[in-house]
Symmetry: C2
Subunit: 316 residues, 2 copies
Amino acid sequence: MTPSSARLPRTAVIREVGLRDGLQSIATILTTEQKREWIRAAHAAGQREIEVGSFVPARLLPQLADTAELVPLAKTLPGLFVSVLVPNLRGAESAIAAQADLMIVPLSASHTHSLANLRKTPDEVVTEVARIRAARDAAGSKTLIEGGVGTAFGCTLQGHVETSEVLRLMQALLDAGADRVSIADTVGYADPGMVRDLFEEAVRIAGDRFWCGHFHDTRGLGLANVYAALEVGVSRFDACLAGIGGCPHAPGASGNVSTEDLAYMLGSMGIATGIDIDRLLALREQVAQWLQGETLHGSLWQAGLPKTFGRAVASL
Amino acid sequence: MTPSSARLPRTAVIREVGLRDGLQSIATILTTEQKREWIRAAHAAGQREIEVGSFVPARLLPQLADTAELVPLAKTLPGLFVSVLVPNLRGAESAIAAQADLMIVPLSASHTHSLANLRKTPDEVVTEVARIRAARDAAGSKTLIEGGVGTAFGCTLQGHVETSEVLRLMQALLDAGADRVSIADTVGYADPGMVRDLFEEAVRIAGDRFWCGHFHDTRGLGLANVYAALEVGVSRFDACLAGIGGCPHAPGASGNVSTEDLAYMLGSMGIATGIDIDRLLALREQVAQWLQGETLHGSLWQAGLPKTFGRAVASL
């Protein structure tokens, strides 16, 4: 008999977002050289997708002011797929100029959160994506556009967000020219039942264009939510080394899913990520040094890998 | 279309094991009066199954020396199902005398861990369960016997444990007269894929006699593992308030799944537990006071309930 878990994806990608979602929500500002070292070491540990920063005005997020310098460095690393976040057309023009592989345009399905965080309604963001698509095509650029639907499970300002609204906005992003779409639980409100139901619908609508799940571990359900998404065929997840991250407009929303715990869960299940966990844990130690005084998260770094880890992979 | 999550159980039971698995692995010794207060408050918060202690010699676990006093107190609380752990026939005789509703006999599927922790082979534990069954029946007692198969996903001493051995021992426990069987990830080695595969088989073999899943959150996968077990129909889980607990013979195996985070996950998914989470969090605060200096776990107490929590339940 084939066990149920055999229906899970055989491979998965962890997109490192610690350099963007992580750093933007903590006080410490890393130097460009430290970020370079982080990117190089993450690549050496086998990570192949990294969100290196955000093209927002430096006065808003001084932590990410060096994004334009980081993209070219990251692009020199063989096989590395380089993403950046862009809040608007202006940011997209910078991403196109820097030749990023992908630019993520965040949209908040909560109208209240959208106005507070992006100063636009969700539908205004959809319109902006259409402009970005036109600019990208006019420039003959290959930079992919990802529309990321955030606060998809509710938010701390508005409370409930309708599933139908999340799916409507996701479809609107595709119609406006997004090459990829993603769903984010920006404030850690999702449970695995919600994830399974919403992601099943999202994958049905977007097919291969459904790109990524983004979970915060605010209430401890981050990895359970990843598992629920895996079960409906999603195989790319955002994560932050040491679980740093959050949302400045969502009090208490600290901590993305931690890269190292996620890499362990996937590896344990025999889902190939290409990541060398020992190297990743060494990098975590380095980054923790740089971020002294900040609250870090994750469990694996304390407990270590199980004695049995890698057994399934080794016996393939 | 019915969403996938609708196939999950409608109700679930969280068995509080903080007073046994939690307290036995930390240095602080609570007074009998503190434990009484804990049991009373847990009952008032809606918990209906509590493992109040263990009938082991007081010199081995002074933290649990007052178990014989706690059972009668707990039995006075309306609707409370009172469990105790018993390592052998002698402990079982005490549980029968105290009129506990259920006694859990731990068996370790790892032979090495079994010898180190219980000083018996797994099959010797099976034989002991047969003796306990005979004694229970001879006494005309109604105390149920639960055989708990621990280190079911491997252990820190032996490493790998064969699934076939776990299932063989579970069947042997049933054959020896156990009324219920359970599976425990004693050292936090399980991932949701493993849980789904093993629990699916276990439920197929034991049917309604499969009683409980017991997960440690050592590497952050505790709640993901609970979710995987829910998906194959298991609906009773051990948990410790504030995530205290571990295994004295498994270094690094700190922290059971935390009761409050689990109650939140189940409640969020619309799975009724009867637990009032605000009361549970108040109790956590009290227990945290008593356990000052001990490492506690869990996320919900920091982040609080989502603004949207209870919406699904309220709208039923």
